[in-house]
């Protein structure tokens, strides 16, 4: 009885239509506006991180040529670059941005279940970004502890930003987690409790499955980061010793005693490994939809894809210490964590096979989103295979802390999700604005970015094999640093700068097309999912007319034999099916 009661309840909600500019664009409770706010903020702060990486590359490619990059500044660049990219760009953009935009639209809901909480979520996120950026204006500058913030060094004299930077970083993270929790509760509850008629879980587009599982992971994993941030703040400010062992610094015995630095690493990676999948799973989901739509073919093995997402989510909680093989943890742990890590390769490989099989003999349209999707699959395979090296203890030990690791994680969780994000923006921009992004600029942007990232990260694998250590300000006169390393580092830097500058094309495209772009119409890609079936483009506040759409089929009815078009929207009943019996 209750089920039937819920859809009309949602239908009856009269969304509030504010008129002042402030209420419409800043304090808006419309999930689409909040999504765009999240998106713009995340991309903005991401550009800061991009500039930082460019500065690091300048130092690595041409050491001693730039006076403004001293070792302190370099470590601050590393730390801020890593943290911004992982948390404030990828997590915020994929979940706060795409999660917010797609969840209600693709589920056929009016809005998130608690729009007010959703609005607060964005503003708290915005505050966390401000606190993070404030690091650059506090005495001593931002922390240079590396994005993993390992104690004891993170709070010992000698690490840049030890006075204030580390505190702004930790506080900003705690605030971010509050923001994420408010948003995440909304996404999960909306997906579980507020879908439209006929939208069963097994009819949801894979984008929603990815976002759903990633949000669940976030809600369960961020607590570990929150707790470690709180404890490190206490260690730093009032002198507790949770993470700090008895230690002497600069020839002086400090007051700390008996804490466990390993505890921090365990907590951090208990959060950190699910975090990898918080970033990866929405990308997996979105790319599945992009591939299916632009290849005009149903996704291969939909159920397998769903269960793979669930399995990866579950497994991601028991693999964390593979980041700690050289940390001095219990020696028996290596076996356990190497095993679980390699098991997680199974569902991941299933997904890759399914993407490839979807593309097989498909009617592939080489649109910009499709280019990015194919690039993602290739890049993800490369990054995933190097993961097999690093997942094995015995292979990992010599490769630890070399550029091989840098190449691995940039390929698998840096470049791959970013490629999907680009593809997704090219795909959904028409729905957000009613305009198409310019195709030629898009193609140019794609090829420079795609080839450029390979020019950057492929050589890094080699650098790792010859033993170049990561996180070094300069390599100096080491025997292993031969001519080829110096040359490659210069090449990488040039490629990185080109890719960095090429992103101007993308930003330009976003702005230019908003004013001068071709009108897209409601469904330019001829896609089946609900967001393309809205009565207006861009959808108005409340998304639908007085009646919510009814779903009759899964999201992947492309090129169905005998059908009128080569796609059938989810909201289209099949012959003989009538409203009121959607699941029959």
């Amino acid at each position: 009885m209750a089920v039937e009661a819920q859809v009309p309840y949602q239908e009856a909600i009269d969304v509030h239509h504010p008129h002042s500019w402030l209420a419409r664009y800043w304090f808006s409770q419309d999930h689409k506006v909040i999504a765009i706010q999240y998106g713009i903020t995340a991309i903005g702060v991401g550009l800061v991180a991009l500039v930082l990486s460019g500065m690091m590359r300048l130092q690595l490619g041409f050491p001693d040529s730039f006076d403004f990059i001293d070792p302190e500044a370099y470590y601050q660049f590393i730390t801020m670059h890593g943290m911004i990219m992982v948390i404030y760009l990828l997590t915020a953009l994929l979940l706060g941005g795409f999660g917010n935009y797609l969840v209600p639209l693709m589920c056929g809901a009016r809005d998130m279940v608690f729009p007010f909480v959703n609005m607060i979520s964005y503003h708290v996120y915005f505050v966390s970004v401000l606190i993070l950026l404030a690091s650059y204006f506090v005495p001593g500058g931002p922390t240079g502890a590396g994005w993993t913030l390992y104690p004891p060094q993170a709070i010992l004299t000698g690490t840049p930003g030890v006075d204030w930077g580390i505190l702004t970083m930790l506080v900003s993270l705690a605030v971010f987690i509050v923001a994420f929790t408010m948003g995440g509760l909304n996404y999960v509850t909306t997906i579980l409790q507020a879908r439209t008629r006929g939208m069963s879980l097994m009819r949801m587009p894979l984008s929603i499955w990815g976002i759903f599982m990633a949000t669940v992971l976030g809600l369960l994993a961020f607590p570990a980061l929150f707790v470690s941030a709180v404890m490190m703040i206490l260690d730093k400010t009032i002198g507790t010793s949770f993470f700090m062992p008895a230690i002497s610094s600069l020839g002086e015995q400090l007051d700390y005693s008996g804490g466990s630095p390993l505890l921090f690493q365990h907590l951090f990676w208990f959060f950190g490994h699910p975090e990898v999948y918080i970033v990866a799973l929405p990308a997996f989901g979105i790319v599945s939809d992009l591939i299916s739509t632009h290849a005009r073919k149903n996704i291969f093995g939909y159920r397998m894809m769903v269960w793979a997402i669930v399995a990866i989510g579950v497994l991601s909680f028991i693999v964390w210490a593979h980041h700690m093989y050289v940390s001095g943890m219990h020696p028996y742990f290596g076996f356990f964590f190497a095993t679980t890590t390699l098991i997680i390769a199974v569902p991941t490989a299933i997904k890759v096979y399914n993407w490839t099989l979807t593309l097989l003999r498909a009617n592939i349209h080489m649109t910009v989103p499709m280019l990015f999707s194919i690039a993602f699959v290739i890049t993800f395979v490369v990054g995933g295979l190097t993961g097999l090296f690093l997942g094995n203890v015995i292979v990992d030990v010599p490769l630890s802390d070399t550029y091989f690791v840098v190449a691995h994680f940039h390929m698998v969780m840096g470049v791959s999700p970013i490629l999907v994000i680009f593809g997704a923006i090219y795909h959904w921009y028409p729905k957000m604005t009613g305009k198409m992004l310019d195709d030629r600029i898009g193609q140019l942007h794609f090829w420079i970015t795609f080839l450029g990232t390979y020019a950057i990260y492929y050589p890094m694998h080699y650098l790792g094999f010859v033993g170049v250590p990561r996180r070094y300000f300069a390599n100096g006169e080491m025997a292993i640093i031969d001519e080829s390393v110096i040359l490659l580092n210069q090449g990488i830097t040039i490629a990185a700068l080109i890719v960095g500058v090429a992103q101007i094309l993308f930003i330009w495209n976003l702005i230019y097309s908003y004013y001068r772009g071709r009108d897209s119409g409601p469904n330019p890609w001829k896609a089946t999912t609900l967001e393309w079936q809205t009565p207006e483009t861009p959808p108005r506040h409340g998304n639908w007319e007085s009646r919510l759409p009814t779903v009759y089929r899964w999201a992947y009815d492309y090129s169905v034999p005998g059908a009128k078009d080569d796609f059938i929207p989810q909201s289209e009943p099949s012959a003989g099916e009538r409203e009121g019996a959607p699941l029959a």
């Binding site: 009885m1 669940v216 369960l220 365990h266 909680f317 219990h330």
Partner: protein
């Protein structure tokens, strides 16, 4: 939707209330009586689980919820069990290394709290 809410005879809450008092008193007595070792630990854990179970099952109405909600809430903490077990194992190892390699002494008896009359 008020009719679908959780409505149960009030007597059951009194029963549970009483039981929680009894279990709390019992676990308190474990300490008071000075039981040590496995006996102490199993008693404390048993009483703790009983109390937690009754609070979740009756006061939070989990017993009357549908299986879908029960599984969704009760399964994820399994990840925590893995964390706790591995961290316990890890802690033993860290403790041993401290004793063996850092020359730390095996914990002496704690000092009594400062007396104040």
């Amino acid at each position: 939707m008020a009719e679908t809410g959780q409505q149960h005879p009030i007597s059951i809450y009194f029963w549970i209330w009483g039981l929680l008092f009894v279990f709390s008193a019992a676990s308190y007595m474990v300490d008071y009586a000075g039981f040590q070792g496995y006996l102490r630990w199993s008693l404390i854990i048993i009483f703790m689980m009983l109390k937690a179970g009754f609070i979740v099952a009756i006061f939070m109405h989990m017993r009357w919820e549908r299986v879908a909600l029960i599984t969704a809430i009760m399964l994820p903490p399994g990840a925590l069990l893995v964390l706790v077990c591995l961290m316990a194992w890890e802690s033993d190892y860290t403790w041993e290394t401290r004793i063996v390699y850092l020359g730390a002494e095996i914990a002496p008896e704690p000092l009594p709290p400062p007396s104040h009359h």
